[in-house]
């Protein structure tokens, strides 16, 4: 039977070996029966249908592999773009608050104008605070020797006045 397994395995057998096996199968009914069963079993197993991986399971594989990978060339959004978008959104919100309806302005206008003035004041204070922070930082760098390399190349502290809310006009 070992030779017959080699036939099933498609192992190379020389002509003499194959002839000897076939001769034996012709005279040995027990081996012939086993050989027939093995061959039939192999045919049955080769004919078994595959069990496909379900579509939803395949989809999960894609999501956890190729679709989870970062796309080439995609970058994080620029902060300046985000800031500009925020300004547009804020401005739109203020504008809608001030002029909810071009026809029906009514008694709400005075209240809306007061709210707008408060918003403008808050924005101005915020801008002043940011400006002052920037100037203090630069002054610290130049006057306290944080970056002597800048002095070497001739960059000096710009003596610009700091403007506040009450400095307008």
């Amino acid at each position: 039977m070992e030779r017959f397994h080699r036939v099933l395995d498609s192992d190379l057998m020389d002509a003499a070996d194959r002839q000897a096996m076939e001769s034996h199968l012709r005279v040995c009914s027990e081996c012939a029966e086993k050989a027939g069963q093995l061959r039939e079993m192999q045919d049955l197993l080769r004919g078994m249908a595959e069990r496909p991986l379900p579509d939803d399971a395949t989809e999960q594989v894609w999501q956890r592999t190729v679709r989870a990978a970062p796309s080439v060339g995609r970058r994080a959004p620029d902060w300046r773009f985000a800031a500009a978008a925020a300004v547009v959104v804020l401005g739109t919100w203020i504008g809608v608050g001030l002029y909810p309806d071009p026809i029906d302005r009514g008694p709400a206008v005075a209240e809306a104008e007061r709210a707008a003035r408060e918003v403008r004041m808050v924005l101005q204070l915020t801008a002043n605070a940011l400006k002052r922070t920037e100037e203090v930082t630069l002054k610290t760098v130049f006057t306290e020797g944080v970056s002597p390399a800048l002095k070497k190349v001739g960059v000096t502290w710009p003596q610009a006045p700091v403007r506040g809310v009450g400095d307008e006009g």
């Binding site: 070992e2 397994h5 099933l8 395995d9 086993k34 027939g36 069963q37 093995l38 039939e40 079993m41 192999q42 049955l44 197993l45 080769r46 078994m48 249908a49 595959e50 069990r51 496909p52 991986l53 379900p54 399971a57 395949t58 999960q60 594989v61 956890r64 592999t65 190729v66 990978a69």
Partner: protein, 170 residues
């Protein structure tokens, strides 16, 4: 390995991997998990797995995942003792044709495969069902070629005996 190559490999081998896991584990949820894990691991190792070596790599990984799962289940050791009888052979067996027509042939073969040890089942499925080349099976199972062939011949004999007793083979 490029992304497109990975996608082609998954499309080509996902059913083979799932079929193998299903035959070894006999549990749809566990087989699905094992197949998915193997395919995802191929993506994670795409930098080192060559395209032409992906199939044996997938089969080896799937096999190892299945064995790990079986160990977790703590399968009883007597499964592989080689003496179980699937069914008593009927006096006048239905034969493969009748079994196929009644839809029972697959069930009987599955039960006969179930009675084999995981190692025997692995070689039978890879060689006889999936028709993989010997060197690939040996690599997947981590055994020398001679050991693989001896194991295959032994597994064939055991399965033949079971199918004969179940009336599938004449």
């Amino acid at each position: 390995m490029k992304q497109t190559e990975y996608e082609s490999l998954v499309t080509m081998h996902k059913d083979r991997v799932h079929s193998y896991a299903m035959t070894i584990l006999r549990n749809p949820a566990e087989a699905q998990d094992a197949a998915q894990d193997a395919l995802i691991r191929l993506w994670e190792h795409r930098a080192t797995v060559p395209v032409d070596g992906a199939r044996p790599w997938l089969m080896r990984t799937t096999h190892n995942l299945c064995i790990d799962q079986i160990r977790r289940r703590k399968v009883r050791s007597e499964i592989g003792d080689g003496d179980e009888v699937v069914e008593a052979r009927p006096d006048a067996g239905p034969g493969p044709q009748q079994l196929a027509e009644s839809g029972d042939l697959r069930r009987v073969i599955d039960r006969a495969l179930d009675a084999l040890s995981p190692d025997d089942r692995a070689v039978i499925v890879m060689r006889e069902v999936q028709n993989l080349p010997y060197d690939e099976i040996a690599a997947a199972l981590g055994v020398p070629l001679g050991t693989l062939k001896a194991r295959l011949h032994r597994a064939r004999e055991r399965l033949r005996t079971r199918l004969y007793r179940a009336g599938v083979t004449p």
